[in-house]
Symmetry: C2
Subunit: 347 residues, 2 copies
DNA sequence: TTGAAAGCGCTAACAC
DNA sequence: GTGTTAGCGCTTTCAA
């Protein structure tokens, strides 16, 4: 173990407190003393022991980011922004990967890492309203990417239903009347799926189009493989859809692959739209029409909210104002129309 | 702040030590006592304070994973495996995003989070041999994805040069004689780039093909946009290449996009190969020929190595055997031939 | 089998 | 300006 404050104090011939003062940048240290201390600090290569500091301060400067899968591009992109925002405010981020498993998510809520983390940013998949309400751990929590409930939990999300409606309306405006959807889910927690499906149905209804269950095959997960498999099913129907709205870009990229390798032209033979605006969709051929949530904004807002809840900065400072009133922040999004729905010459 | 051992002890009418024994699952606690204590534990919803435990034990159960960008698919996929492997062994993982910046990487090496983490897995980009050697912090370290040097640093990597040679040989075997490369870098740290370029040149030389600098434009970073821009440059040459080896899949996907939207057929007009085998390349059209490093294996090996270096498990156990002799682990990889070099009918 | 008490390294109230 | 000291919550000898 490295040198402690005591060691440094002994070497510099001063008290522990003085060394602490220097280390923490307090004023009122005589220049001469400061110099001596800094010399000792350097010679001994002093590094503060964070465990001790945390124990004393009652906070760790660490927040946890719990999400389903780090390797799903949407979450990877989001994480990058969350970490950026957190680091900017002096926090260190610890990652918890739940794989969308209900048990793991429950563990996260009950605070496996409690006392190690000062706060938690959590993107739930499987867990629903009841479990959130049943939470006993009182580590500050901000929910991400979902409007789970109107309960007592702070969260930041886009309006999934409205966004889904807009995508569907876009497809309808293109003249399509037979529009499939990939991404419906049965599981109880699946809130995103439910909202996006609701938006899709809403748009159909408004346009006087029928809702055909065969065009909305359910899926267990949201990976490319699922999109590819379900697209195949849709194309095998007697009357395949003219357009397909996928509930995320991964599904859409899988669907795209299936359509293209079946020899279909996209969007001429079948149009495809996604959701999330991951970078892949900006470079696929054709490029992907999608909903683009303001990820940087979502991440920043979540961190700021959490920061306010914890009541200070990761560096140990204290906030004057109390916890914020706002508990539900709605983030912006944009519909981005690209080649997969409006063509472009190529492919 | 929650209940402490002392609170529990008071409530159960026993000493702190006894509660500690129960919490830590020690033997030799009378059943009756244990019962009492467990009751108190439950009633008070006791959660151990990790800062205190860490301070006492001298370890935190936390390791850091430092990498350039969480949103680059290769690193996202790798992270997922590193976290999986770490959690399996009782470690919690904290993420450090360096953006490939030399300064940030240096900070990582000097141990910004020292005393908070028991070990570090680091995927360097900018930093080179000297800086690694100059490291003073002695937190156990395992390097990832690079064979930086034959110095004193443990690492796990694939043979980049050999893999690059194999890809190039594959392109040559297809009859191409004018083969470009995208991904060369000038910066001093850029070891991956150097190794992959060396492999490329080696293959050309072995086949008696000339090395043409115009076919190897340098790049600052490894994103899709860079691949797209450089591909445009290659296509604008008087004699554009018949095939292009991109030093990672992101560059390749960008290059693919440029080629396709220029109306070229891939691989008929120009073949494209990548490196990393990220999932995007398995669903792009055409699918991407690439080098597939065994990421799960790399991650697991790195965690095991680190675990051994630290000398115990994250749960606080102790290892009997000393640190391992092996310092350089070479991971497996495979060349995966897909449509972007050998066609397939589609596109 | 259980208890008392020291001390991990640090911060902060208080004294000088 | 600087020093003394208590104690954060936990583990761990050492005694009982």
């Amino acid at each position: 173990m490295g040198a402690s404050l005591k060691d440094v104090a002994a070497r510099a011939g001063v008290s522990v407190k003085t060394v602490s003062n220097v280390v923490n940048g307090y004023t009122y240290v005589a220049p001469h003393t400061r110099e001596k201390v800094e010399k000792a600090l350097a010679e001994l290569e002093y590094r503060p022991n964070l465990s001790a500091r945390n124990l004393r301060r009652g906070r760790t400067g660490v927040i946890a980011l719990a999400l389903p899968e780090l390797d799903a591009p949407y979450f990877a992109e989001l994480s990058r922004f969350v970490i950026d925002a957190a680091v900017e405010r002096g926090w260190t981020v610890l990652i918890d990967q739940t794989d969308g498993l209900a048990d793991r998510e429950r563990e996260v809520l009950q605070g496996i890492r409690e006392q190690l983390i000062d706060g938690l940013i959590f993107s739930p998949i499987a867990v629903g309203r009841e479990e959130l309400a049943a939470r006993t751990d009182n580590t500050p929590l901000v929910l991400l990417g979902e409007r789970i409930l109107d309960g007592p939990t702070h969260h930041v999300a886009i309006d999934n239903q409205r966004a889904a409606r807009e995508v569907t309306e876009h497809l309808i405006s293109l003249g399509h009347t037979r529009i499939g959807a990939i991404g419906a889910q049965d599981s109880p927690g699946a809130n995103t799926a439910r909202l996006r499906l609701a938006g899709y149905r809403q748009a159909l209804r408004a346009a006087g189009l029928p809702y055909d269950e065969r065009l909305v095959p359910p899926t267990g997960s949201y990976h490319r493989a699922d999109g590819a498999a379900l697209m195949r099913r849709l194309l095998d129907l007697d009357e395949p859809p003219q357009a397909v709205f996928c509930f995320n870009d991964l599904l859409a990229l899988g669907a795209l692959r299936t359509a293209l390798s079946a020899g279909l032209r996209v969007p001429q033979d079948v149009a495809v739209a996604g959701f999330d605006d991951i970078e892949d969709g900006r470079y696929s051929t054709p490029t992907l029409t999608t909903i683009s949530p303001d990820k940087a904004r979502i991440a920043r807002t979540a961190v700021e909210l959490l920061d306010a809840l914890i009541g200070g900065t990761g560096r140990g400072g204290r906030r004057a104002d109390g916890p914020p009133e706002v508990r539900e922040v709605e983030a912006d999004y944009r519909l981005i129309v690209r080649e997969s729905t409006v063509g472009a010459g190529g492919a």
